[in-house]
C-alpha cells in the first residue's frame, strides 16, 4: 500500500515555532483535508513535504523511504501563492512544467491537451496566463499540478476564489485522482466542502496537529442526540431514559440513553403527531474546528 507519512515535523522561524512534532499518514486513494487557522502551519507543512523548505526535525516518507528529489518530482503541487509565468502561454507553460517533471515532449503535449480539456481551459491554450480571469488562472494552476501525472497531490487552498461550477470541477478531479490510488492532501477554509469531500481530516493549531482522523470518528460524541421536527397535536411524554427539550419552533432536541429508547420514543411520536424530521445531531466539522481552535484562542 502506498502511503505518505509525515513524521514529527518541527520547524521554527527565529523564535516563532511554526510546526511542533506534526505527524500524520495519508494512504494512497485517500483525500486528506488539512484545516487550521491562518498561520497555523498548513503551508509550512506542505512546503516541507515538497522540499521547498527544510524541516528542523522530522521526516517525510513515501512508501517507507524518505522523500528525495526523485519522489518530489512525482508530486503534484499547488502552492498557496499561485505561481505561473504571467507572460508565458498556457499551453507552452504546462508543457514546460511537465517536461521539468521528466515527461518527454510528446507526452507533455498530450498531457497538456488532456488537462486543459478536462479543466475547461482548452480554448485558452495560446493565451498568456496573465490574460486569463483569476478563476481560469486557478484552473491552469491545477492543471500544472496534474500535468505530469503525479503519484501524490499536495494542494494548498485549491478551492479559494473558485465559483461553484469550478468548485464542482475541482472536487471531481480530486476525487478522480484519489480513486486512481493517489494520496491527496489539500488545505481549505471551506469546512463544509472538506467535510463532504474528505475521508479524513487533520486540524492544526499553532503548529500542532490537535485532531486527526476519519470525519465520522471525529464527529462521534458520547451523548446520543437527535433533532425532531413535527407538527400536529403534540408530542407524547418522554419515557424514562429519554429527555426532550424544545429547540425552536416545532423542533425538539431528543437525548436518549440508547438508540432503542430513541426509536421507541419516535414510534410513539409518529402516532400522535406528524413527524417531518428525525435526525441524529452530530457536531459539524465547523463545530469541531471551532471547539478545537477556541480552546485557547479565537479563530483568526
Amino acid at each position: 500500500m502506498t502511503t505518505l507519512e509525515i513524521d514529527g515535523l518541527t520547524k521554527s522561524y527565529g523564535t516563532v515555532k511554526a510546526l511542533q512534532d506534526v505527524s500524520f499518514d495519508v494512504p494512497g486513494g485517500e483525500l486528506f483535508g488539512f484545516v487550521g487557522s491562518n498561520g497555523a502551519g498548513k503551508t509550512t507543512t506542505m512546503r516541507i513535504i515538497l522540499g521547498v523548505l527544510r524541516a528542523d526535525a522530522g521526516v517525510v516518507r513515501w512508501n517507507g523511504a524518505p522523500v528525495d528529489l526523485g519522489v518530489r518530482r512525482s508530486i503534484g503541487y499547488m502552492p498557496e501563492e499561485r505561481g505561473l509565468y504571467p507572460r508565458m502561454k498556457v499551453g507552452e507553460q504546462l508543457v514546460y512544467l511537465a517536461r521539468l517533471h521528466g515527461l518527454s515532449a510528446a507526452d507533455a503535449t498530450a498531457a497538456m491537451e488532456h488537462w486543459t480539456e478536462v479543466l475547461g481551459v482548452a480554448e485558452r491554450r495560446d493565451d498568456a496566463v496573465e490574460k486569463l480571469s483569476l478563476g481560469n488562472q486557478q484552473r491552469v494552476q491545477l492543471a500544472s499540478a496534474l500535468v505530469h501525472g503525479p503519484d501524490i497531490l499536495v494542494l494548498d487552498e485549491p478551492f479559494s476564489g473558485l465559483d461553484p461550477v469550478a468548485v464542482g470541477v475541482m472536487s471531481d478531479v480530486l476525487r478522480g485522482q484519489a480513486d486512481k490510488g493517489v494520496p491527496v492532501i489539500f488545505s481549505s477554509h471551506q469546512l463544509e466542502l472538506v467535510e463532504r469531500l474528505c475521508d479524513r481530516v487533520g486540524i492544526v493549531k499553532s503548529g500542532r496537529l490537535v485532531a486527526s482522523g476519519a470525519i465520522d470518528d471525529l464527529r462521534a460524541t458520547d451523548t446520543l442526540a437527535w433533532t425532531l421536527a413535527a407538527s400536529g397535536v403534540g408530542l407524547p411524554d418522554a419515557p424514562p431514559g429519554v429527555s426532550v427539550a424544545p429547540d425552536g419552533d416545532g423542533r425538539w432536541r431528543v437525548e436518549a440513553e440508547s438508540a432503542d429508547a430513541a426509536q421507541a420514543f419516535l414510534a410513539s411520536a409518529v402516532s400522535t403527531a406528524t413527524v417531518t424530521e428525525f435526525s441524529p445531531v452530530r457536531p459539524s466539522l465547523t463545530d469541531l474546528f471551532r471547539d478545537v481552535v477556541s480552546e485557547t484562542e479565537e479563530v483568526a
Binding site: 521547498v52 518530489r72 503541487y77 502552492p79 501563492e81 505561473l84 509565468y85 521539468l100
Partner: protein, 390 residues
C-alpha cells in the same frame, strides 16, 4: 533539466519583442553609421585636381616629384588658368590653380588644403635650387642624390611594442563592448530571477529542481542570449570595420581581437553574471532590484574606468599588475594591457587561471545565496541570512 531551463530562458529573452527591436536598431545604427562614414572617410582617395598654367609649366615635373616623394596623390594638369576673383569660385572639380611664373608662382586654393601650399613651396624651392646649381656649374642630379642620401638612421631603444593608437582603440572597443553586454546580461538575469520570485512560480520550480540547477540553467540561458546579443553587435562592427577599411588603417587583425573578446567575454560573464543571479534572489520585487545591484553595477564601473584611465598612464605598474589578477578586474584589465603590449603571457595565463578557479567558488556562493533567499518574500533579505539559510 538544466538544458530545459536554459532553453526556456534563452527563448523568452531572445524572442521578446523588446529584444528583437533593440537588436535591430543596434544593427541598423552600426551599419548605417558605417555607410554614412564611408564617403567622408574615403573622400581623400579621389585625387584632387591641380591646374597649372602653361606659364608655370616648368614647375610640373617638380610638383610631381615632390608629390611622389611625399606619397601625395594629386592630378596635375596643364590648362589655361583663368584666375578667379578673391570672392569668386573655383571651377567644378578643381581644387587649386597655379598661375604666375615658375619662380614666383601664385597658388589659388579652393579649400583649406594646407598640404598643397607646402607642396608648391617645395617644388618652387627645388626648381630655384636646381637653377642656381646649374648656374654655378654643378650637377643638379648629384646634388639631389646627395640630399636624398643625407638621412639619419633611427634606432628605437627599449620596448619596441610601444603605445599604438590603433590597438588602444581596439582594446577600448573590446572592453566597452564587454561592459555593455555584461550590464545588459546582468539586468536580464536579475529581472528573470525576480520575475520568478514575484510571480511565485519559483515555488513550483523548486519542488522539481534544485536551486543550483535552476540558477545554473538561467545563467546558461542568459549566456546564450548574451552570445546572440554579442554576435548581433560584433557582427555589424566587424562589417563596419571591414567596410571602412579600419583594420588596414589601424593595422589590426580581426582574428586575435575576436579571440581576446571571446575569452574574456566568457570569463567575465561567468564571474559577474553568476554573482548577479545569486544577489537578485535577495529581493522580491522588481522595484527593489536597485538596492542590491547598484553596488554591483558600481563594482563593474570601477574596473572599466581603471582599465581606461589607469592602464594608459601606468601599463605595468604594481597596482595594475595586482588588479590584473583579481577576477572582477581581470576581464577589463587584461585586454587593455595587452593592447599596450604591457602584459606578459605568464600574467595573462595566471589571470585566466585565477578566474577559472574563482568561478566554481563564486557559483557555489551564489547558489547558496540563491537557495537561501529565493523563497523569502516581502522585504529585502540580508546577505548573511541568505548564506545561513542556503
Amino acid at each position: 533539466m538544466l538544458w530545459l531551463i536554459a532553453h526556456r530562458e534563452f527563448r523568452t529573452r531572445t524572442l521578446s519583442k523588446a529584444n528583437i527591436i533593440s537588436s535591430a536598431i543596434m544593427i541598423v545604427l552600426i551599419v548605417g553609421a558605417a555607410v554614412i562614414l564611408k564617403p567622408i572617410l574615403s573622400s581623400d582617395d579621389e585625387a584632387a585636381v591641380v591646374q597649372v598654367d602653361p606659364a608655370t609649366a616648368e614647375l610640373v615635373p617638380y610638383l610631381e616629384g615632390v608629390a611622389a616623394a611625399q606619397e601625395l596623390d594629386y592630378v596635375i594638369e596643364e590648362a589655361e588658368v583663368v584666375v578667379p576673383g578673391a570672392d569668386g569660385e573655383m571651377p567644378e572639380g578643381v581644387t587649386a590653380m597655379i598661375a604666375g611664373t615658375a619662380t614666383a608662382p601664385e597658388l589659388y586654393l579652393g579649400g583649406g588644403d594646407g598640404t598643397l601650399v607646402g607642396l608648391v613651396d617645395d617644388a618652387t624651392r627645388a626648381l630655384a635650387l636646381e637653377t642656381e646649381v646649374t648656374a654655378l656649374g654643378g650637377d643638379p642630379a648629384a646634388v639631389s642624390g646627395a640630399l636624398d642620401a643625407a638621412v639619419p638612421t633611427v634606432v628605437m631603444v627599449g620596448d619596441s611594442d610601444d603605445f599604438d593608437s590603433g590597438t588602444f582603440f581596439a582594446g577600448l572597443v573590446v572592453i566597452v563592448m564587454l561592459f555593455i553586454i555584461l550590464i545588459q546580461s546582468a539586468s536580464v538575469i536579475m529581472m528573470g530571477v525576480v520575475e520568478e520570485k514575484s510571480s511565485r512560480v519559483v515555488e513550483i520550480l523548486l519542488a522539481t529542481v534544485r536551486p543550483a540547477t535552476l540558477l545554473g540553467g538561467k545563467v546558461l540561458g542568459v549566456g546564450m542570449y548574451a552570445l546572440v546579443q554579442a554576435a548581433s553587435m560584433v557582427g555589424p562592427i566587424i562589417f563596419a570595420a571591414w567596410y571602412l577599411d579600419l583594420f588596414a588603417t589601424l593595422n589590426l587583425e580581426a582574428g586575435p581581437l575576436l579571440v581576446k573578446f571571446g575569452v574574456w567575454f566568457l570569463l567575465g560573464f561567468a564571474v559577474f553574471i553568476v554573482f548577479f543571479g545569486g544577489l537578485a534572489a535577495l529581493v522580491s520585487r522588481q522595484e527593489d532590484i536597485g538596492a542590491v545591484t547598484t553596488p554591483m553595477m558600481l563594482l563593474m564601473m570601477v574596473p572599466l574606468y581603471l582599465a581606461i584611465y589607469l592602464v594608459p598612464s601606468n601599463p605595468d605598474g604594481t597596482v595594475t599588475q595586482v588588479l590584473t589578477q583579481i577576477p572582477f578586474f581581470a576581464p577589463f584589465m587584461v585586454p587593455m594591457r595587452s593592447a599596450f603590449g604591457a602584459i606578459t603571457t605568464a600574467e595573462t595565463l595566471l589571470a585566466v587561471t585565477i578566474c577559472l578557479v574563482t568561478i566554481p567558488l563564486l557559483t557555489w556562493v551564489a547558489g547558496r545565496v540563491y537557495a537561501g533567499a529565493v523563497l523569502n518574500t516581502g522585504g529585502r533579505m540580508k546577505l548573511a541570512d541568505a548564506l545561513k539559510r542556503g
